[in-house]
Symmetry: C2
Subunit: 361 residues, 2 copies
């Protein structure tokens, strides 16, 4: 087991990464102060891991809520069912919420924990690669609004993250690839050596080699922990973690939440960002090709969906959280391993990129 | 004009109290950093003060949302209409929300500000006595759940509070009295000299004497600011501000939100707390009588509704935010001017108090 500390003063917490961690009371007990534990999971994860997870909380009064599976359920309605359960069971302000599942479960549960009685304790047990390398760490929680992704939410840090790599064995190939998109992101925006390592080991990662996956998760969490510790509330460099996300969110919203997985959408989005960066003369064609090849090697799309026109992207991107007074801000690439947030690009160039990076039917 | 500072480090903010402050740009402009302002108000306040309030924000792009009036609308559905408006207008992360109205508008708007894009700036312009002396100060925001009051929310401090005493001239008598309940509370729990002052000046307050009201608001805000500065997240003494609230919330939920005003419910609740304190031998009958008389002089109920049985109170009180593992914690009186949070009372004594403090039909 490897443990990485996210350094946030009094809100610091450990990320435990390793095989067979699920169900281990020693990892979670130090982080629970009351007597009541509510495990929130979904209909896909529950039959696989809910009973096992409960073993870790055997000293407490444990209840569970099972949400429907999928990004299309990441909304206020699903979120509210957690409060129904908490209030019916008379859970108090010292209770602990546990998110057992992927990014959607983690985001909804974290936001419920941020909001129940104005904030209760919570623990993340991510069971997808995407959640283990990204969404379970850093305290961003929230739900979608029909007019924009993650528009309603809070910063609320977990008290502990348990990333059990064994759970990745039951992940389907598409979900595994979606997680690799966020892994690639860390290399792309701030870790050129890791990018290189990924180019050399993508075959092993796709083949689910345990050691390769464990290293990729660890290096991803280290990168994320550094960024979050330096800029918890995204006043500055944390925004770089949104590489590909403004494009990606437009794809997710434009295609209907759940049609494209988040990781798939940001994979295409990172290529779009790199393509625009090249048009601006910041990176060269070789770098763009390296990114395209890595994304394709991870079985991810390097082009947006044929259905989505550039005009629709522009509409959707204008409501992105990084937009200011309607002006779109993007994470673009200075080179592989270095990104910046900028609004220094013409609408014309952006439109060109959107047209070019679209899969032709 | 009087200005009181709420001392919360980097989140400190001023409370401006005085006549004719509404519409003054100088008070609010220093607290706005973006370009977009959304004023949230309700159907009662809008025709009276919306246009005037807009004058203060004339340098910005100002939009407004008008909510229905009443505690029964303090729910997730009403709250969500604020996001609809913000997203339709493409409001960004640097926007400012302004709560123009009473406690319900302030709580819903504050919670929308806490949640929109994971937190945006907000300003309180309270137009009821209750909001000016209590709910606009201290950062408690939230909405009700059918199973409990204020169960979903956040701590989110405003960047500025503007309490224009002129707005109290349009307040109906019942709302004025409801505000006086919270004023009495400060005297009861921590300020015996102020309690005495209230005994001497309640006639003037009920008659809306401007100087008396201004002093009562100022002293209330000073008390609240001291408590909040010492304990922002209610880990300790801030809980004392909930005097009468556990009983009061049970009345509000039990009678249906909106039937009893919040201030009316906590007035009866403070008498119940004092009655139980007397049964425990903590205060004497004279003190209880002083409180009863003061509450009656403010035209507030000193007894709970006849419809509500003690068994229903017990059910409703068990889900109060101060409950722990189903055990009810109450704010009780050591003497007039000194309160404690305690669970050291028998269920039997509590039931006795609930039976005795009920208006007979």
């Amino acid at each position: 087991m490897n443990t990485i500390e996210v350094d946030l003063g009094t809100r610091s917490y450990p990320i435990h990464i390793g095989a067979n961690l699920l169900g281990d009371p020693q990892l979670v007990e130090p982080h629970i102060h009351g007597t009541q534990v509510m495990i929130v999971t979904n209909e896909t994860v529950a039959p696989l891991y809910l009973e096992k997870a409960k073993e870790a909380f055997r000293k407490f009064q444990v209840k569970s809520v099972i949400l429907p599976d999928g990004e299309q359920h990441k909304n206020l309605e699903t979120w509210n069912t957690i409060f129904d359960a908490l209030l019916k069971e008379r859970f108090d302000r010292k209770c602990t919420l546990v998110a057992l599942g992927g990014g959607v479960v983690g985001d909804i549960t974290g936001y419920a924990a941020a909001s129940y009685q104005r904030g209760v304790n919570f623990i993340q047990i991510p069971t997808t690669l995407l959640a283990q390398v990204d969404s379970s760490v850093g305290g961003k929680t929230g739900v979608n609004h029909p007019l924009g992704k993650n528009m309603i939410g809070a910063f609320h840090q977990p008290s502990c993250v348990v990333a059990d790599t064994t759970t990745l064995t039951t992940l389907d190939d598409r979900q595994l690839s979606a997680g690799l998109a966020e892994v690639i992101k860390y290399g792309l925006i701030r870790d050129p050596k890791f990018f290189q390592w990924l180019e050399q080991h993508m075959g092993q990662l796709v083949a689910r080699d345990g050691d390769a996956l464990a290293y990729a998760i660890q290096r991803s969490c280290e990168n994320k922990a550094e960024v979050v510790a330096a800029d918890e509330l995204e006043a500055g460099q944390r925004a770089l973690l949104n590489s590909g996300h403004t494009f990606g969110h437009a794809i997710e919203a434009g295609m209907g939440y759940g049609a494209w997985l988040h990781g798939e959408a940001i994979a295409a989005g990172m290529v779009m960002a790199a393509d625009l960066s090249m048009h601006l003369g910041w990176i060269n064609e070789d770098d763009l090709e390296r990114l395209r090849n890595l994304i394709k090697a991870a079985n991810l799309p390097d082009l947006g969906p044929p259905e989505l026109q550039s005009s629709r992207y522009m509409e959707l991107m204008a409501v992105d959280k990084k937009a200011e007074a309607g002006k779109i801000h993007l994470v673009l690439q200075k080179r592989i391993g270095e990104a910046v947030v900028t609004d220094q690009f013409s609408q014309e160039k952006l439109r060109e990129t959107l047209d070019q990076c679209r899969r032709k039917v």
